[in-house]
Amino acid sequence: MWVAPQRRDLGAIAHYTGLLITTVAGAMVIPLATALVAGEWGPALDFALGAGVTAAIGMGLAQMAPRGAYLGRRDALIITALAWLSISLVGAIPLSLSGHYGSFLDAWFETMSGFTTSGLTLSQDLDHMAVAHNMWRHLTHLIGGQGIIVAALTVAMGVRGGGAISLYIAEGRDERIMPNVIHTARFIWFVTAVYVSLGTVALGIANLAAGMEFSRSFLHGFWATIACYDTGGFGPQSMNALYYHSPIFEIVTVMLMLAGTLNFNLHADVWRGDPREIGKNIEARSLAVNIALLSAAVGFGLGASQLYSGWGEVLRKGVYHVMSANSGTGHQTLYTTQWLNGYSGLGFAAILLAMAFGGMVSSTAGGIKALRLGLIAKGVLWRVKQSIAPASSVITQKYHHLLDVPLTSEVLSNALMVFVLYVITYITGALIGAAYGYPAGAALFESISATANVGLSTGITAPTMPAGLKITYMVQMWAGRLEFITLFALIASIVTSFRRGRGRQ
């Protein structure tokens, strides 16, 4: 039975969405302060306007809560789905005023890409962008990567009716590291702060040694760290990671990408001094096999292109881009045109698969996820065992994911359902891209990159691409970040509300 939201539910949804939007207004103070320190008066005014308008919208929506509004599971799903849409919308306000975007839609695309940690960009003349606007672009990765809900829960937005856990689950997180979700959210931020500090210092020193000015060294270090740890992929320069021409930069960022794609439960085990879980975990094993096979495939593909004379170069390019694709980061040390015109073939196909498969669940990585691939592989093994066993025998299959768990048909069907939804979305986006006249291979690459929140590009994603395709990729980034079910809940609620409204007429 479809249950339409009541007026009281809509008030609660508006109230909590408003509080989330107000949190984003508070976050805009950081680029505003950056602009003031850097003496960038124009950008400072962009953020003053953005923060004011965003706060007014947020507080306006927050007024709509009825007294004692209870937050149910369905409402939490709707709030989460709306949160990514609404915060990217208000987050686009200062960027649209920067003069680096062709339209408000382009700026909205940028913030949708930023908050969903995709990394596809429509910015123009990035090499002349203000520090403050770059700060905001990268902060969208940090806020979105940690999770909008986690971000808001950390500052305790005062959810009534025990709805915090519903919001937390609706965002696709399943960590239960601490006794309650607010403490867990704070723990996630604490661990993130440690990684971000280490990464910023390491990359800052590397930049300083390369001759960058002091404050730029550490700003670039901070931005690259959050772009990699939160598996985002934005860069402050148009050349992205290639700008630095540095093997040290590549090594540190690969380590950060790996940390970003790890399930947070595994981070917690490592934090507690018990790294053995990583060796036993089905997801970690599945990801390791995935990365090893695809790195070899990319290596053979790049080797076959005969552009490189040594295996060192092939390995450096191959591992970097497989890690970037698998983790959903999207940092690249190649130009977009090189994928299609230089490395088509096995290398191109392997990168497609790495993007499609993605990283781990409960991380900022996108894609189908290594856990589901591991479960599907176990499921195939299970069915084969059943088919050759005597009819009277009962065959069971276990897997280890934090605990030893029996593989059930329900778990397997859930994994397969999400797998199928991703594949359908990948193909649909590719068909739309092809319908706009782009080559099928490039259209598939871009569609997977958007849905899996990766950010690698063959060059289709550009300010000149059709508005319809921009909207398509925005929907794909949004759907991929929510892993579909939350988005479907929103659509179902809108449809049932509409039907109820028509029924009354």
């Binding site: 207004a25 005014l45 007014a56 507080m59 090189q338």
Partner: protein, 175 residues
């Protein structure tokens, strides 16, 4: 005498022929550079890999250490930035690098294009043979609009009123 004259004419014809021009273009030293730009350089379809090329663009951000007495200067040509590896002394004339506050010096680079540079981890780069300053960089005008401050403040006032209303409502609930 007539034989020497014929040889001289033949040598002159060969020197001026397109074949010799092509041969010169493919060698590194003393080459006739192929005129190009950023988008063509990264296209991977230019057929210029290993050839001497020439392009113009704006130097952006800063010069980064490149090892062996060299630096990396990134040159923005027709919207595409290209990493150019050059000896440190070649940057002596450079004063302004492009960023939010400045338009950088415009330079003409002559160098060898490597679509997958063996020396630099397979990066697409240009190893400069010469660098010529075409136009000195200048400060960029970045005007600001004070009306944005007015709108922002109005929004903050509205948000403040909303917040007070919400708090009063909550206090009312508690009483």
């Amino acid at each position: 005498m007539r034989r020497y004259g014929a040889i001289a004419v033949l040598a002159l014809a060969l020197a001026l022929s397109p074949v010799s021009a092509f041969a010169a273009g493919t060698s590194a030293a003393g080459a006739v550079p192929a005129e190009t730009d950023g988008p063509e350089i990264i296209s991977m379809t230019s057929g210029l890999d290993g050839a001497t090329i020439a392009f113009e663009g704006e130097v952006v951000s800063e010069a980064l250490a490149g090892g062996d007495g060299h630096v990396w200067v990134n040159v923005l040509s027709d919207g595409t930035a290209i990493g150019v590896w050059m000896p440190v002394e070649m940057t002596d004339d450079l004063e302004v690098f492009g960023d939010w506050g400045n338009t950088g010096d415009v330079v003409r680079v002559v160098g060898i294009l490597n679509e997958g540079c063996d020396q630099h981890g397979g990066d697409l780069d240009v190893h400069a043979v010469s660098l010529e300053l075409v136009k000195r960089g200048s400060e960029r005008e970045n005007p600001y609009d004070l009306w944005k401050l007015g709108v922002g403040l109005a929004g903050l006032v509205l948000a403040g009123v909303g917040y007070r209303r919400m708090r009063r409502s909550e206090e009312g609930d508690l009483l």
